[in-house]
Amino acid sequence: MTVADTALDNLIDQVRAARADKTPLNILGGSTKAFYGEPPPAGPALATLDTRPLAGISSYEPSELVVTVRAGTPLAELEAALAEQRQCLPFEPPRFLAINAAGGKVGGMAGGTVGGMVAAGLAGPARAAVGGLRDYLLGATLLTGRAELLSFGGQVIKNVAGYDVSRLLSGSMGLLGVVCEVSLKVLPVAVATATLRFEQGEAAALKQLNTWGGQPLPINASAWWDGMLVLRLSGAAAAVQSAVQKLGGEVVDPALAAAFWTGLRDQTDEFFSKALVAVDAGATLWRLAMPQTAPPMALAGEHLVEWGGAQRWVVTTTPASAVRDAAARGGGHATVFRSGRPSSAGAAAGFDGPRFAPLSVPLMRIHHELKTAFDPDRLFNPGRLYAGL
């Protein structure tokens, strides 16, 4: 029996036991995204189900553009294996630091696990150009609330056999079960890349980005903050070169540019560092998913625009209802990404409304029914996505 088999058997046993005792479980990976989603319900701490022993890359053949990897594998390990073959996860999932229960930084699994990446479903700067995690998820093996180990999808790019349950797991916050193993489509690292900088106001930058978006240009990522638009081009060397000529702007030194995009991806750059300080002082860091042509958000506070206008980060003390209304008016939705902890002394009251935008009645009904379908005893991550789920 391999280590992975034993780890899997242990997980199955723990779910069986939890089912028998009706004790809910908090699914745990690298604990780097504990801040994200609804806080655990009041009362005694939930028992944890640690996926980290279920680790390792099960199969990876670069010419297939597919990697199959177990949930507990550190994301850093997966990315290193891909980088050796000059391949990557094109959607650039953010890698956060590990944070302990008291909010202090701890060592260990910085960057989190593959399972956590799937459950959170977050993507980095290249999202608008290349798609999100869901678009790269080809198959998944899931441990359900009945302690059944089920596989959906597969390791092939085209697959329409049955419902695409594996993609449903992207961003599911552990609601439907324990993601045990996933197959991901990977892509070659672009041959060439270049970063350009333009001094521009937000409205002008949004217009410019959308205009460029309609032209066959190798734009891979964009960020606007504090009067500066930064653009990443990537693709064939000739295409990048001709786009640099065409677009103008100031070419950023490659090393500086790489550091900038990594900082943006992992939310360690200046905007996000300041945001963390503001959050500690009682502000909220909002993520607004918007139509990319939506005008600048009329909300007080610091704004950073990514994804060609489709993602707006706002640090503000504006009441949640006003933020949500503004997002909805623009055709999008707002998520509380980080907020001061209601429990931490010194911080303001913090945020105690729902983290994710409310759902319509039929969608919420379907969410409840799906929860029942996968986890009838409501064992996994209770309330992490929406209260009551």
């Binding site: 297939e64 092939v156 085209k158 329409v160 049955g162 070659p188 295409a239 139509p291």
Partner: protein
């Protein structure tokens, strides 16, 4: 297979069943008359016959009633009425599907959404189009063309198939290795739940709050909700496309060359393969000048800016030559490029000319197993004493073996079915799937038993119930019941008698 069962009932029992059906029909017609104009309701046999099958003509079933709603309010009313009467509803687009997903239910209403054929909005700056479900796939790209934009997924039936059907099947096309499937090119699906409640999956942003229900609705073959309006993403049209046609003396070398192109870090816009029998059949049909001596031909396309294409074509040529290409031609202009593709696109009608009948498979395998499956299929030709032509979406590992046979000979039909079953089983054994792009529908219900465990199938039933608790939408498709799981499904294409036979296929 899900062919209508032979009812070995007594005359009296048959009579009783017929009159029960008539009574039910009268009841449903009366109820729908209250919500639909008379011309939007068909129930006489001569009117409902055109709806008895989709692109999979082997399976036919007359619907109880055909409803042709013209407004969203009528769609909601039809669904509510049927829900109240517990009548199954089968939504239907252009009927070009190849797995029987739109085959009617004997006691159900077929709801044709053909009237919803309006492009609601084309937002050039945002590069999105809001289109009603009955808009044809190609019509979107045609409407976007004046702005230098297009809708990327291009199933070969794109002149006729509708976006609503594309959503149901998660349709691909020859360019999906680079540009993705339907799911990757959508933002939002708006429609109705089984009981007629309005619902939206996805949104106008790149993600929506909560579970990613759009991902499961796309490709659900009309089992979870009824699609009425779709917001698609449009892409800037590549300035140029060029295609390499490469010959190989050896099947394994061709398979290895496919893997080598990908391993070199190239994602071709299209990467297709034909074997020698297929090449002979299509050359005879289109006279494109294919290399008849080659064991396999690869078509390898690059698109983008002229600089990009030049660079990529050079790199691809080098890889193909290094992996034993015996002949190599690069299209010099658009006419030549289309000629290179003409045979590949006409593989099906060409097969129809060299054999009384053929049966098409649609499995997908990991790319690295291309040579293995080809060699296995060659062995099967000997075992079952039938010929097989092979066309592949090689870049995706998606196979379309065409087994040639004569249905007039019962033993050939039997051997053909065993042959097809063998291919599907071998594909699953090689790490693949029983359907890459045609869907399960009714055709591959039994094949689903090979690929999924009873618990996995039960979980899929549970997903269905979460969206459609009463089971009214397209019942009996996609997921096989336990007792069905005994035999494999196959698609039997009568010699070129597909509806839309004039269309390019696959």
């Amino acid at each position: 297979m899900n062919a209508p069962a032979d009812l070995s009932l007594s005359d009296a029992a048959l009579q009783a069943e017929r009159s029960a059906r008539s009574a039910r029909q009268a009841e449903v017609v009366a109820a729908l008359r209250a919500v639909l104009p008379a011309h939007a309701l068909l129930y006489r046999q001569e009117d409902t016959v055109p709806y008895e099958c989709d692109g999979l003509t082997a399976y036919r079933q007359l619907p109880l009633v055909v409803a042709l709603p013209e407004t969203e309010a009528q769609v909601a009313a039809v669904l509510k009425t049927c829900h109240a009467l517990q009548v199954p509803v089968v939504a239907r687009g252009a009927g070009t599907g190849l797995s029987g997903g739109a085959m009617p239910h004997a006691l159900g209403v077929t709801m044709s959404l053909a009237k919803f054929n309006r492009i609601v909005k084309l937002d050039v700056l945002a590069r999105t189009a809001v289109v009603q479900c009955g808009v044809r796939n190609l019509a979107i790209s045609e409407a976007a063309a004046p702005f230098g934009l297009y809708y990327a997924p291009d199933p070969s039936s794109q002149i006729a198939c509708t976006i609503g059907g594309n959503v149901a099947e998660n349709s691909g096309g020859v360019h999906c290795l680079k540009y993705g499937l339907t799911l990757h090119n959508l933002l939002k699906v708006r429609g109705f739940t089984a009981d007629g409640e309005p619902v939206e999956f996805g949104g106008d942003a790149l993600d929506a709050p909560g579970l990613d229900l759009l991902a499961v609705v796309v490709g659900s073959e009309g089992m979870l909700a009824v699609t009425i309006e779709v917001t698609v993403k449009l892409l800037p049209k590549p300035q140029l496309a060029r295609c390499i046609m490469a010959s190989f003396d050896d099947i394994r070398a061709a398979g290895d060359a496919v893997a080598a192109v990908i391993a070199a870090g190239i994602i071709p816009a299209g990467l297709e393969m034909m074997d020698k029998p297929m090449t002979a059949a299509v050359e005879d049909y289109v006279h494109a000048g294919y290399d008849l001596d080659a064991a396999a031909i690869l078509l390898c396309e690059s698109d983008g800016t002229p600089e990009e294409v030049t660079e990529e074509i050079e790199r691809m040529q080098a890889v193909l030559l290094a992996h034993g290409a015996s002949r190599l031609a690069v299209s010099e202009n658009e006419a030549q490029r289309l000629r290179f593709w003409s045979g590949r696109k006409n593989a099906f009608p060409a097969s129809g000319r060299i054999s009384p009948d053929y049966m098409c498979m649609d499995s997908t395998i990991p790319r690295k197993r291309l040579a293995d499956i080809l060699i296995a299929i060659a062995a099967m030709e000997k075992k079952y004493q039938l010929r097989c032509c092979n066309v592949f979406h090689a870049g995706d590992g998606n196979l379309h073996p065409l087994i040639l046979f004569d249905a007039a000979d019962p033993d050939q039909l039997r051997r053909c079915e065993l042959f097809g079953a063998d291919i599907l089983e071998t594909s699953v054994a090689l790490g693949g799937t029983v359907t890459g792009e045609h869907g399960v529908g009714v055709e591959k219900l039994s094949s689903m038993c090979v690929q999924f465990s009873p618990e996995e199938r039960e979980q899929m039933f549970a997903v269905k119930r979460a969206f459609d608790p009463a089971g009214g939408l397209n019942p009996g498709k996609v997921i096989p019941t336990l007792h069905r799981c005994a035999e494999y499904g196959r698609m039997h294409v009568k010699k070129g008698l597909l509806p839309f036979a004039e269309l390019e296929r696959f």
